[in-house]
Symmetry: C2
Subunit: 345 residues, 2 copies
């Protein structure tokens, strides 16, 4: 198996990304290869400093970098020699010998979505790719799709996210008949926007799906569904609000405890550390962009070495799970549910 | 001052609402009146059971109730004798002697928005009312508007939410030159939907506003802004996700601590109780529907007696703060920023 990694993408790139790749070597089989895409001199210097020489690490030079603040489509079109664009080309089945079974980036998410969509192309029947983040909630894992690839989707897009994420939850996470819900601002049928109503209507007409209806933000955390679909704007906001809330909550709580009783605070520290280690996004490493013809994993911008190591492990698992074949079949068998409509430009 | 209360609205109505009113008597001046709107027999029985007889409690009979699951506009149009609709009529300046300075409901939020908009009418110049929730974040209070009145706003609506919430933060919360931000899925100018870009553009052209640009869910919790505007769908989701997250987080954490060391768990309990009491939505009681001609406070559906008591105190503070006069002035002086556009139907 070959996994291509954009070592220049991410807040702590390239150091943390390359260290993550080195740390992942123990997860690899003899015939696995990590293809490090980025500035060759930087990569070789970092590997040299670390005293690492391993035939399973391959370097592909890419002189340019897309940074976190660039306009995605523009950056992907103009920076064709950037590590991210070169990586995405290697994720395409047309890449020949250079082809990777999976590609991975912690860089500019919007640019990664654009690069993968442009160069890897979409799976047969897919309108728009969507990011499926597995959130490690206290009630169990919940797959949220879309988490930011498509901020203004049509009902057809959301409906496909439901199907693709359902397949993902089943194949990759082993959830039997995943309960699928649509995020809404009330659980009553009358509530919500035209988008959620039309999506819900399509899901009700879809055979073989365990559709449980609308879900609210509160129920989301109580484990009322395994797969939750929403537009990329709301999905991304939910993700970041949860992260921001957790961080601020923990900080404020720790302060309150220490202020009250420093000894109690110290006694609590190991419990909290073990508690958080189980609910940490670093554990999963990244989220697949479902709907592209290949496997593109998007890691958190603030990925550390351990995040990248986990993401590489997740890549291996997803390649073996053959999620894409199952998505193609699922979309083909439910094609009749969709309203006849022209593809968005 | 007269405050009208829909005692039939809310998950724990009418008991908790009426008890909240009774508990609020000590907050009232001699010439203040709480007008309890609902089923007269129920109200008088509950007051009798509690042994309460106070001239500052007035009862207005309303035989009908709008429940939490009804379709808002439909319910408001047909149930004209419901406690909520009767309450909203009393909030109107046209109500004459029956008129209340503020009205309050913990019932169906959508119906309350409809009833207030229909019967109290909008303030001069306001396109659409918006709910302004003051979230008691660890970094300090943040006003989120809109929290669910208008799930699919136009840029003009969001722009007015910014101005109205700015006035509210200043007048009611005493924040000098509140920092105003637009919720987005990235802080870069290129990110986001057409809605947020158009709103941001209008805010940049608005004189006298302390507009700080886009804010993400993460920064939201770090106190990067005092006022955050967003569409009602996202706003409501942020609110409920935060609530759901806090609840599940606390539950899971408590379990982890008790599992590790029951004594540690017991030692922690009083600290946590005091910690949460400061960050509790019950403390504020409710959120004003900004933009209606009067004061309509919307309380949480799961309001308890203490929530209603707090909401009554907040009503009193807001009436004294003359937020509406300041909103009218602020909209008039920034009128030129707006694109000429017809009112939505």
């Amino acid at each position: 198996m070959r996994i291509g990694i954009d070592v220049m993408g991410g807040d702590h790139a390239p150091d943390a990304i390359i260290r993550g790749c080195v740390d992942a070597l123990d997860l690899l089989a003899d015939d696995d290869t990590l293809v490090l895409v980025g500035n060759r001199d930087d990569i070789e210097e970092l590997l040299g400093d670390a005293g690492v020489s391993d035939a399973r690490l391959e370097v592909v030079h890419a002189p340019d970098v897309i940074d976190m603040h660039e306009t995605p489509v523009e950056a992907v079109r103009t920076k064709t020699d950037s590590s991210m664009v070169v990586m995405s080309r290697m994720g395409s089945v047309k890449a020949g010998d250079a082809q990777c079974d999976a590609v991975l980036s912690a860089g500019n998410t919007g640019a990664c979505v654009s690069a993968a969509t442009m160069n890897m192309k979409r799976l047969r029947g897919v309108h728009r790719p969507g990011i499926a983040v597995t959130m490690p909630l206290f009630s169990g894992p919940v797959v949220l799709c879309d988490a930011g690839a498509n901020p203004q989707p049509r009902p057809q897009h959301l409906w496909q996210y439901a199907l693709m994420a359902e397949v993902f939850a089943n194949r990759a996470l082993g959830i039997e008949e995943p309960r699928v819900a649509v995020m809404n601002i009330g659980s009553e049928e009358a509530k919500g926007t035209g988008l959620v109503k039309a999506t819900s209507d399509m899901l009700r007409r879809t055979p073989g799906i365990n559709y449980v209806g609308y879900i609210e933000g509160r129920e989301f955390f109580e484990g009322a569904a395994d797969v939750v679909v929403t537009d990329g704007f709301t999905g991304n906001t939910v993700l970041k609000v949860s992260e921001g809330f957790a961080r601020s909550f923990f900080k404020a709580m720790a302060e309150a405890v220490f202020e009250h009783d420093a000894e109690l605070g110290l006694a609590l520290q190991p419990v909290m550390q073990s508690f958080f280690s189980k609910k940490d996004y670093h554990e999963l490493g990244g989220a697949p962009l479902l709907g592209v013809n290949g496997l593109c994993m998007i890691a958190h911008g603030s990925s550390e070495a351990r995040t990248i190591r986990s993401a590489i492990r997740t890549c291996k698992e997803l390649v073996i799970a053959h999620v894409n074949d199952a998505i193609i079949d699922r979309l083909a068998e439910t094609r009749h549910v969709e309203q006849p409509e022209r593809e968005p430009a």
